[in-house]
């Protein structure tokens, strides 16, 4: 139990530290590296909550796929000029006030609703039914959620076509 607590705080530090660095660094490249650290921390949190399949998906798809896409765009688009200019826009004060208001609300609700969250059973040792995490997800995804799954594939097709059309010089 103590190991869990320590691991949680380590991963939380990675997630939040990486997040803060992502939104404060001048260079987009540094921000991308910080975002990778943050995403790896999130992957660790998945593993702590017995979501092994999502742990693998997070590392392969986010860190391997989406961040690669970001790095390619940083390479293609010349960001040196942008790194020297002002990094924050003029509405930053009002934005911080609005976010603080939202944060106060969320914090209040989590604080007040804490009693309702006590169903958080301490880690169950192993899965009861003998089914692994991936098998459970597959059963749910290809059974109950088959239609959303197919719709998601259409969405990905649209995204592929759309991004090619956008990035191409002449169609």
């Amino acid at each position: 139990m103590l190991t869990d607590t320590i691991l949680f705080y380590i991963f939380a530090l990675l997630v939040l530290g990486g997040g803060v660095l992502t939104i404060t660094r001048h260079s987009a490249m540094h921000a991308a590296i910080s975002l990778i650290v943050s995403l790896l921390g999130v992957a660790g949190l998945y593993l702590m909550q017995q979501a092994e399949f999502l742990f693998a998906v997070q590392i392969i798809l986010y860190v391997g796929g989406i961040m690669l896409l970001f790095l390619f765009v940083i390479m293609l688009v010349n960001l040196d000029e942008a790194a020297k200019q002002r990094q924050f826009n003029r509405q930053w004060l009002i934005a911080l006030v609005a976010v603080a208001a939202v944060g106060a609300q969320v914090g209040y609700f989590i604080y007040r609703g804490q009693g309702s969250f006590h169903f958080a059973a301490p880690l169950v040792a192993g899965t009861p039914a003998g089914l692994g995490n991936t098998e459970q997800i597959a059963d749910s995804l290809f059974g109950e959620y088959l239609l959303p799954f197919e719709v998601a594939s259409v969405l990905l097709l649209v995204a592929v076509v759309g991004s090619v059309v956008m990035a191409k010089k002449r169609i």
Partner: protein, 102 residues
């Protein structure tokens, strides 16, 4: 030391969501705004996984997979738009992209 409960995960998720929102609202660089959106989507996923674990129900993880699918589609299209925009306007600063402004 207290054992880690769902509340810890919810607080962490809320903090990450707020960090992402600050990034979206205050940064000028469009690439970093897109990265902040990824942070927000990850906060949502932490929330879904926390409840999935707490209720011992795998549906939350299926939802997280759909969220990741959306994140991939959004990043691909967003970065494609960004490349097209940079080709035409030679800028990636969000407040200099004001073609629709009166």
């Amino acid at each position: 030391m207290h054992p880690i409960t769902t509340v810890h995960y919810l607080a962490l998720s809320a903090a990450l969501l707020l960090i992402g929102t600050v990034g979206v609202l205050t940064r000028r660089n469009v690439v970093i705004i897109l990265m902040s959106i990824e942070l927000i989507l990850n906060a949502v996923n932490i929330n879904l996984i926390a409840f999935s674990h707490a209720l011992q129900n795998v549906n939350g993880q299926v939802f997280a997979i759909f969220v990741i699918t959306d994140a991939v589609a959004e990043a691909a299209v967003g970065l494609g738009i960004l490349i097209a925009l940079f080709r035409n306007k030679e800028t990636v600063q969000a407040d200099e992209i004001d073609l629709l402004k009166w």
